[in-house]
Every structure is written in structure tokens, then in C-alpha cells.
């Protein structure tokens, strides 16, 4: 069906970036509409991709529609460049679009992400593509799609606060830690995909364009650069992000999002940066944490290490 493109012999069986040009056009139209109405979920004719739904088919289709030969792609999965989903999607685009790839946030022009926003501040001109499993923030409160669409249309968002109310009633505080609902540009309530609420403030007035693709649910939505994004809350229970008691065990970073890693079966554990690129570049700059493997050789933080053991 698709003819070989002029972009190289190894692309013989695919159109550039896998999707055919008509499909890309359709998706780009949806993206343009999404950008024009920040936070609004635009339906689109999601295609079958060579991967199962739930593995990022929405994000992949958005990336495939906006990527060009000059782009530099970074793919992260829960902040990491080296986990299955990230490695597979990166390899996919290397194969079907022959683009250069990177793990460095700064060097990337397109960053496809599953459930994190990089720690490093995004720049103008960069595009962040989110993989979204369930785009509808009201879904678990109101199962009817016809009704949720009407609620968005009429700005009836009381129900969203019912969820937060339930959290406080049950736990004493807003216990929602991820997929924390936001109000975009003062109009649409949006699900930021299952990113930790730690990342919500990074969406506000971002320099980068943020695109969200939900393949199974067939929806695309967007936050244009410099758009106001407010996390919903109560006056007497304001929005707060997660905090961590200790710094990253490998690079010593504070004020970043950490993953807990179990070390043994006797309760040993460490907290490390979820953003692997951020952690690696800090270590390259000489920062050390309490469990850095090379701290004995580098001679850093000896007293710190002794204090712990």
C-alpha cells in the first residue's frame, strides 16, 4: 500500500513514521482543534497500532503525526529512559522514522512520556506528548459519556469536588496523588493522565506545548504554552504536592520526585530519582547520594556514608 519514501532504503515497507499521510492529517486537525480549545477532549479516529491498547497507542499516534526527520526524540516511562515501554517506543520511531533519539531532556524536541514530566524545566519549542489511559476526569463519578460531555459543555464541575470531598472525609486530606484534576485556562477540567500530582505545577504556564493522546478512548487534548493550569482544591484544604523525607540515594537531589526501590528482603530500601536523565546528569556533575556506588573512589560524602551505616 504505502510506497517507499525518499527518506532512506530501510523504510521501504512503511510510510514515514508508520502512519499514512491521511491519518496524520486527521490527527493533526484534532491536535490543532485541541490547542485552540485548551483542555477540551477532541475525538479522533484512533488507528490500530502494532502494540496493544494501554501501551501508549495514543501517544505514539500523536508523536507519529508531529514528528519530522529533523526531530530529536526522547521517550520516558515513569521518568525512566530505560524501561520496557520507553525502549520499545524509542526503537519503534528509530525504525519507522529514522529520527535521532536522546535521553537528554534538553536536547529533545519531542518528549513522549508515560506518567511523568521531566524534572528539568522544558523550553520553548519542545513538545511533551503524554500517553493517556482514561482522558475523562469525571469518568469514575459519572459513567455516561453523553452526560460527561454535557457537563463539560455546561461547565458543571461540582461533581469533581465531590470526589475531593470524599477524600477529605475518608482520609482527612486530599488523598488523590496521581491523575489529580486540573482546571485549564479557567474553563475545562482536565485529567493530566496518571502523572503524580507532584508534576501538576509544572504544567502551569509551561514554555513547552503539551499534547495528550488516548488511543483506546480515541481522544486528543492539549495545553498550549503559557496556559494557566490550576489544580482543584478547597479553600481550607489547599492543593499540595508530595514531599520526601530524604534526598535521592544516588545523586542527593532534593525537591524532585523519588521512586522507592526495595534492596533486600530485610526491609532495606532506597529512594532514587524517578527521572533517570536528571539523576545521571547530576551524578556526572559530581553530585553524590548516600548509596552512590563510587563514593569510596570519588572520596565524596564519606562522613555522610558513615553516619548512615
Amino acid at each position: 500500500m504505502s510506497a517507499a519514501t525518499a527518506l532512506g532504503g530501510d523504510l521501504a515497507t512503511y510510510n514515514f513514521a508508520y502512519l499514512d499521510e491521511q491519518t496524520k492529517r486527521m490527527i493533526r486537525r484534532a491536535i490543532l482543534k485541541a490547542i485552540a480549545i485548551p483542555g477540551y477532549q477532541v475525538p479522533f479516529a484512533s488507528r490500530e497500532m502494532p502494540m496493544p491498547y494501554g501501551w501508549g497507542t495514543g501517544g505514539v499516534q500523536v508523536t507519529a503525526s508531529i514528528i519530522g526527520p529533523q526531530d530529536v526524540l526522547k521517550v520516558i516511562d515513569q521518568g525512566a529512559d530505560d524501561t520496557t515501554n520507553a525502549v520499545s517506543i524509542r526503537a519503534f520511531f528509530q525504525k519507522v522514522a529514522n529520527v535521532s533519539v536522546t535521553t537528554k531532556t534538553r536536547e529533545a524536541s519531542i518528549i513522549q512520556t508515560r506518567h511523568r514530566i521531566p524534572e528539568e524545566k522544558l523550553q520553548a519549542g519542545q513538545v511533551l506528548v503524554y500517553q493517556v489511559p482514561i482522558p475523562e476526569p469525571l469518568r469514575f463519578l459519572e459513567p455516561r459519556e453523553t452526560e460527561t460531555r454535557k457537563m463539560h459543555a455546561l461547565e458543571e464541575y461540582g461533581l469533581m469536588h465531590v470526589k475531593l470531598y470524599e477524600d477529605i472525609a475518608r482520609h482527612g486530606h486530599i488523598a488523590t496523588t496521581y491523575a489529580y484534576p486540573v482546571l485549564v485556562s479557567g474553563r475545562y477540567v482536565m485529567d493530566p493522565s496518571p502523572t503524580p500530582k507532584f508534576d501538576n505545577p509544572k504544567m502551569d504556564m509551561s514554555e513547552a506545548l503539551q499534547l495528550f493522546g488516548a488511543g483506546r478512548e480515541k481522544r486528543i487534548y492539549a495545553i498550549p504554552p503559557h496556559t494557566k493550569v490550576v489544580s482543584l482544591d478547597f479553600e481550607d484544604h489547599p492543593f499540595e504536592i508530595q514531599t520526601f523525607d530524604e534526598p535521592c540515594a544516588l545523586c542527593g537531589a532534593e525537591g524532585v520526585y523519588l521512586d522507592e526501590v526495595i534492596l533486600d528482603d530485610r526491609g532495606g530500601r532506597m529512594f532514587v530519582c524517578s527521572d533517570t536523565d536528571h539523576c545521571e546528569s547530576r551524578r556526572a556533575d559530581g553530585h553524590r547520594g548516600r548509596l552512590s556506588p563510587d563514593e569510596a573512589y570519588a572520596g565524596h560524602g564519606k562522613t555522610e556514608g558513615e553516619a548512615v551505616r
Binding site: L141, K150, L154, E155, E156, G158, L159, H161, V162, K163, Y165, E166, I168, A169, R170, D233, F234, E235, D236, H237
Partner: protein, 261 residues
């Protein structure tokens, strides 16, 4: 009795609703004044619920006009308002008490959130205040304060119905629609619910339109009643007059069918 206002709160003119060839209700006109409770009675299939749905904007009528006097005093045709305005009216100035509480409640969120939802829908964003109001309303409908965080699934039928009433009244509506509010409850629970409703309607000066097939409920709650048969109004008047001195043959039949215990 409070002095009744001169201008009607709701006025219905020539309202008809057809389901294809069949008639739901035909050419119905009446008015409801502030603070007045109107009962619509009739046997099942007589068009009571169709009529109620038509005047509460839940079902579009085939013909006729329903106008409502807004808080600013201006009467407006409900079906010429935008959907957004109608829905706002539904959750602020109106209440709707369903026969089956599960239709009017959110069964998977707590009682407190059920009562608080309308407040949050009109922009209340202070958790403490929402909770205080919810507690207050739960006590008003005789639900213990320590049940505020329980889901309605854990409530009995009578409690669910009372919770539904609290949820509807929390925004201080001026007009409440009730569809068989005591249906499916046993008689002692019915009696207490009716007592409660009567008290609330009096205290708050609510206008209410109650659909029921139970003439005892109509007698207890309503000032005026409309008797329906085959989609038409066969008789209307003050409740006591209609029940004690029924004029239309059908009303006479209906009144004489009450079981005497």
C-alpha cells in the same frame, strides 16, 4: 397558613405530550403559587409522571407552555431558556425527589457528599462549611450525625428517602417536585416521612408538586389537588373539597376505593 402570593410561581398552559399515536397527557393547564403544595393523583397510567416530567424539564412536551417565575420576579418559558439555565434552575431553585432514592442519590459517595454536591455545584469551595451544612441537614431529616461518612447503600429505604430530601433542600429551593415520595415504604416509616415533609414544607415555605396514587398522602400534604384520568384532568380543587365531596364520577370511584381499616 401563610399568606399566599398573588402571582403564580409556575404556570402550565395547554400542556400535551404524545408518545407517537398514544397520549401521555393532553391539554393540561394549572398554576402553582409560592408556598402551595399541589397533589397530582390518579391511577397508574393516567399520565401523572409524564406531566411531572414535562413541567420539571425532564421531558419535552409536544405542545403547550410552562413558565416559571424566577427569583428576580420575571416569569420565563422553561422551554425557551438555554439548557444551561434550565440545569442551573434544576440544581438551585428546584428539587426533584424520586420515588426510588437510588435514582436521586449517588449511591457510591458518602451521605455528606450527597448533601454537599449541590453546594459545590454552585461554587462552594470551603470543606468545613460544606460539612457543617451537611451535618445540619442530616439532623434536620433525622439522620444521626455519625452516619455522615456512610454511603447510602448502607442506609434503609426510609433513611435513603430522607437523605434524598436533604440533598434537594440544601440549596434552599422554592419548588420541589416529588414523584411518589413514600412509595415502597412501610406505613410507620411513611407516616414519619410525611410528618417530616409537612414540617419542612411549612418551615421553608416551599411550593411542591407531589405526584401520588395514595390519596392519604395527598390529603396530608397538599392544599390543592388535580385528579387525572387517561391523560386529562377530570377534577381539581381544594384537597378537602375533592376528597370529601368528589364531583366527577371517576373521583367518586377513586375516593370510594380507599380501603377502610
Amino acid at each position: 397558613m401563610t399568606m399566599l402570593d398573588e402571582t403564580p410561581l409556575l404556570s402550565v398552559t395547554g400542556l400535551s405530550r404524545y408518545y407517537g399515536e398514544r397520549v401521555g397527557c393532553r391539554d393540561i393547564s394549572f398554576e402553582v403559587y409560592p408556598g402551595e403544595v399541589l397533589a397530582i393523583v390518579g391511577e397508574s397510567g393516567s399520565g401523572k409522571t409524564t406531566l411531572l416530567n414535562c413541567i420539571s424539564t425532564r421531558l419535552e412536551p409536544s405542545a403547550g407552555c410552562v413558565s416559571y417565575r424566577m427569583r428576580d420576579g420575571e416569569s420565563r418559558d422553561l422551554y425557551r431558556m438555554s439548557e444551561a439555565e434550565r440545569r442551573l434552575l434544576m440544581r438551585t431553585d428546584w428539587g426533584f425527589v424520586h420515588q426510588n432514592p437510588a435514582d436521586g442519590l449517588r449511591m457510591t459517595v458518602s451521605a455528606g457528599a450527597n448533601v454537599g454536591e449541590r453546594l459545590m455545584a454552585v461554587g462552594e469551595r470551603h470543606y468545613g462549611r460544606i460539612r457543617d451544612t451537611a451535618t445540619h441537614w442530616l439532623s434536620r431529616v433525622e439522620i444521626a450525625a455519625d452516619r455522615i461518612d456512610d454511603q447510602p447503600r448502607a442506609f434503609s429505604g426510609g433513611m435513603r428517602q430522607r437523605l434524598q430530601i436533604a440533598r434537594n433542600l440544601v440549596t434552599g429551593p422554592r419548588l420541589v417536585f416529588m414523584d411518589e415520595p413514600t412509595g415502597g415504604l412501610d406505613v410507620s416509616v411513611q407516616a414519619r416521612l410525611l410528618d417530616l415533609l409537612r414540617g419542612l414544607v411549612n418551615d421553608l415555605g416551599l411550593a411542591a408538586i407531589v405526584v401520588t396514587h395514595d390519596l392519604a398522602v395527598a390529603r396530608l400534604l397538599s392544599h390543592r389537588m388535580i385528579v387525572m384520568k387517561d391523560g386529562r384532568v377530570v377534577e381539581e380543587g381544594l384537597t378537602d373539597r375533592v376528597l370529601d365531596d368528589p364531583q366527577a364520577p371517576y373521583t367518586q370511584l377513586l375516593v370510594s376505593s380507599i380501603l377502610q381499616v
